[in-house]
């Protein structure tokens, strides 16, 4: 016989408390039926002998101490999974919302996932060609990596994510399935629309599964959204051997949902009011990227987060940076000068890049070219700082050469149209041509052999003028 509990003993924000319950497990899912016939889902977040604290996914609006009956399911939150999920749109908690009816699940899985044993991982080594010069050359995306985009409000991160999703090619694509799982947490309606429209236009919609929690949807559902999306991604990658690119936006809204939930639970806050366990919590999302031994599929994550006030030391980007394998940072100044994509090259980084580039992956001169571009561009910053004090005219010849290099680099290398898809060869050749505008002696990260092969000031002159 199923036990049902009538009424509640306390309601506080998204949390409700039930007294006198029996045999309730930590983290299990309950259904709350309202007297008006609607149903809400809730999760047990704290339990003791006679009392359970539940968070209600759809919010507690309209709940009273008497108008509910609660039933416990005996299971943690599970998501029904099927290959049919590609091409469909779901709510943040995994309900289909595109009006095409329910899916026929072929399997149910706990949305919290389990930690992947480091012994069972395959170290990611194969690069994904995004066709975007700044990313391919300087912060190469590797299959199985988690590489977030750190952006700010009003920057073109969404456009960049769409371009990556559209152009992403896997180096040794052998006809294996490639899919996209898109998780939107607390995004504005038009952002969700933008992604949907963009996928439609590029004809990719049938290989995209979308999980959408809009900014006016309940916050508890927001906490589930990335977990549902990743459960779906893991299923497609590891059971159907597909290469899945997961785009999660916006992680800052997600973290704020965690904060709201934590404070209503009365927990002791850490930095800026975020819960002390935010690191572990974010890690339980980001770490669900990778490649499992024995499977040919992969989960690659591109989470997008907006840095409040463009502050990279804010807890959300900060903790994210410690978990993810690098970051792509967007720059407001570049954006304002009309550069797209406005990637700030110096603070951006891909940690897995070193093992996924070079001979056999991209081209043998890749790491040398990338290193030299980084080193040269960092000198550009010094020259600019100096120029802002003493004026450009007063700079030494060497510094002037760097000023010029910096300008060309931003105009021709970083700047790239939304529809321009450059191959890795084009990108690297462009990089060498730009480096060739500098005096040969300045290229101290390149050995002589490569220098004689790629250093070509004449070609640079024809490309960029004197």
């Amino acid at each position: 016989m199923e036990l049902k509990y009538v009424g509640l003993s306390e309601i506080n924000g998204p949390l409700v408390v039930l007294d006198g319950v029996k045999d309730v497990a930590f983290d299990e899912i309950a259904q709350i039926d309202l007297s008006d016939g609607t149903r809400r889902l809730a999760r047990v977040v704290e339990v003791s002998q006679d009392k359970a604290v539940l968070q209600v996914f759809e919010g507690t609006k309209g709940l009273s101490l008497t108008n509910t009956t609660t039933k416990f399911s005996g299971k943690p939150m599970e998501l029904g999974l099927s290959k049919e999920m590609l091409g469909r749109i779901f709510s943040g908690s995994g309900r289909p919302i595109d009006g095409l009816g329910d899916i026929a699940p072929d399997k149910f899985k706990d949305i919290n996932g389990s930690p992947l044993n480091p012994v069972s991982r395959t170290y990611p080594r194969n690069y994904i060609n995004t066709g975007i010069s700044s990313i391919d050359a300087l912060m190469t995306l590797i299959r199985g990596q988690k590489l977030p985009i750190f952006s700010g409000s009003g920057l073109s991160h969404n456009k960049l994510a769409v371009q990556i999703a559209r152009q992403a090619k896997i180096a040794d694509d052998n006809g294996q399935g490639f899919g996209i799982v898109f998780g939107a947490m607390g995004v504005k309606n038009d952002v969700a629309d933008y992604f949907k429209r963009s996928f439609e236009e590029s004809g990719a919609l049938e290989r995209v599964a979308m999980f959408i929690n809009l900014s006016n949807d309940p916050i508890i559902e927001r906490i589930l959204t990335p977990r549902c999306a990743l459960t779906c991604a893991e299923y497609l990658a590891f059971e159907h051997n597909m290469h899945i690119l997961v785009i999660l936006t916006d992680m800052t809204s997600y973290a704020e949902a965690c904060r709201e939930f934590s404070s209503s639970k009365g927990e002791i806050p850490g930095r800026k009011g975020y819960p002390g366990y935010l690191y572990s919590d974010l890690a339980s999302i980001y770490e669900r990227a990778g490649i499992v031994k024995g499977s040919t599929g992969s989960v690659t994550q591109i989470p997008i987060l907006t840095m409040p006030n463009d502050d990279i030391t804010h807890p959300v980007p900060d903790l994210t940076g410690y978990i993810t394998e690098g970051q792509i940072v967007m720059d407001r100044h570049l954006e304002q000068t009309g550069t797209y994509p406005a990637v700030a090259v110096l603070p951006s980084l891909s940690r897995l890049m070193k093992d996924g580039i070079g001979e056999g992956y991209t081209r043998e001169d890749h790491s040398m070219c990338a290193n030299q571009l980084f080193a040269a561009y960092s000198k550009v910053q010094d020259a600019r700082a100096l120029a802002s004090v003493i004026g450009e005219e007063e700079l030494s010849e060497g510094d002037k050469a760097y000023m010029r290099f910096g300008k060309l680099f931003e105009e021709h290398f970083i700047n790239q149209g939304f529809d321009v898809n450059r191959s890795i060869e084009e990108t690297l050749d462009l990089g060498w041509s730009l480096l060739s505008t500098l005096p040969k002696a300045e290229l101290d990260r390149v050995d002589d052999e490569h220098l004689s092969k790629f250093y070509d000031p004449d070609k640079a002159k024809t490309l960029f003028g004197e």
Partner: protein, 585 residues
Amino acid sequence: MDTIYSINGPVVKVKNSRTFSMQEMVYVGKKRLIGEVIRVTEEFTTIQVYEGTTGLMPGESVEGTGSAMSATLGPGILDNIFDGIQRPLKKLEELSGAFIADGANVPSVDTQKKYSCTITVNVGDRLSAGDIYCTCPETQLITHKCMLSPLSKGGEVIWRAPDGEYKVSDTVVKIKTDSGEQQELTLCQKWPIRTPRPCKQRLPGTRPLITGQRIIDTVLPIAKGGTAAIPGGFGTGKTMTQHQLAKWCDADIIVYIGCGERGNEMTQVLEEFSELIDPHTQRPLTDRTVLIANTSNMPVAAREASIYTGITLAEYYRDMGYHIAIMADSTSRWAEALREISGRLEEMPAEEGFPAYLPSRISEFYERAGYVENLNGSEGSVTIIGAVSPQGSDFSEPVTQNTKRFVRCFWALDKSLAYARHYPAINWNSSYSEYVGDLEKFYTENVNENFMNVRQQISSILVEENTLMEIVKLMGTDVLPDDQKLLIETARIVRVGFLQQNAYHKDDTYVPLEKQYLMMKTIVDFYTLAQKALSDGVLYDSILKTGWSDKIIKIKYDIPNDRPEMFGEYEKQMAADFEKLTEVA
């Protein structure tokens, strides 16, 4: 029977029980999850659970084990990878597949494998605490020595097994204590992870841990048995530096603790270390490595324990007379685990939500390092190198500040160096090492009597450059007089040619001390010659035109590690070139 009263994340409470003692290991629930008692009051016993508590119900049983959280110490630890509470991850994979399931109960070391043992005692011998009674080759590199537990009162050997093949749990020696009790000794023993293993006495650290990394060995050295912290924001190369040290330092055994870090990084260590050959012994690095992995999505309570598990394993090998280096990456995650558990216990927070006992916990950890004389008379050391991940790259946050108080070596990683891809991105101005004085004798006697002198000159060049840079930032280099331009140029040679080191170059990834010295000497020689040339009226530009600065910068690639005699040619050539310059002038 004691049962669960309440569950809140990894914290479980038992009501009205008087059976548990502090820090006792317990089994929680039907799945027998491993937990530890962290608070006992009249009403509640609080337990932190080292595994996921999803699905746990009030009313399920809690069973005490009567002993504290302990590590199993015996052959089979090396060349292995454990989780935070010493469960072998390879075994867990066989048991539950690629994803780690809860409640797996696996012995820490392989109980079926047989080791070829030599019993080193005879009937009638007297054994006291710490004495070795049996040895066996654990890997091709390391001989395992089984010792009488440090807590034992000792006794007389009354039986010994013949030499031969034994499993970990086989009895090989029996002793009779003074009180007449009989004790059976196997190849393994247990030790509570939170208690330091005792030693006879601490010795001063006078030998450096040689790492082959130039900025560390010469500018900021660390002694064997010393402590160092590597703080740095994300992307500054903490993990990379730790990997380089783990690969190349001259410790006998490396304990690598991946504490709350990325899963892929642990996989990388696993893959890379099994392929890499140790330069000192020509064996794969895994032969001398123990990995402890609690990746950031594994249970948080086990993260707190992983640090103690790691150091207990290290101390055990130290007792055998080995030199151990611990890489803890990263201690900030461990501190955050403390904070998380403390928050769940509703303790009064101190700075930034960290518990008030954070400094004492950090100091307890670092104090377990040291160069010691063991109970059995041998000498061994434990060196701790802890990475710190400051929130927001702000070194004034509590974990960095408290760590700074308890370590003697501070290798501060710098974002702007990392952005310029200058690796290792250790900032020579804000870092320090208190071991320089202790190690002076070693360097003078074993490398070159002139070593400290040359090192000092290199440091002064860097310090002077730092002062000059303030002017350069405002006015550019053109306005400086020639001798200061020369200093800036020499400092550039030091930075690019000496401090910057290429981990992916076959020669440059590990540089022997002798070559390090000769490189420094060449730079100092250049500076002296060039200064003299300037005072003889040679133009600064003609000094630049000799091309020596670039030639010295490329020495790291051009002179192989095994051809130090080539430096002599460089020296002659350079002297000749400068003589020509002076003649022309």
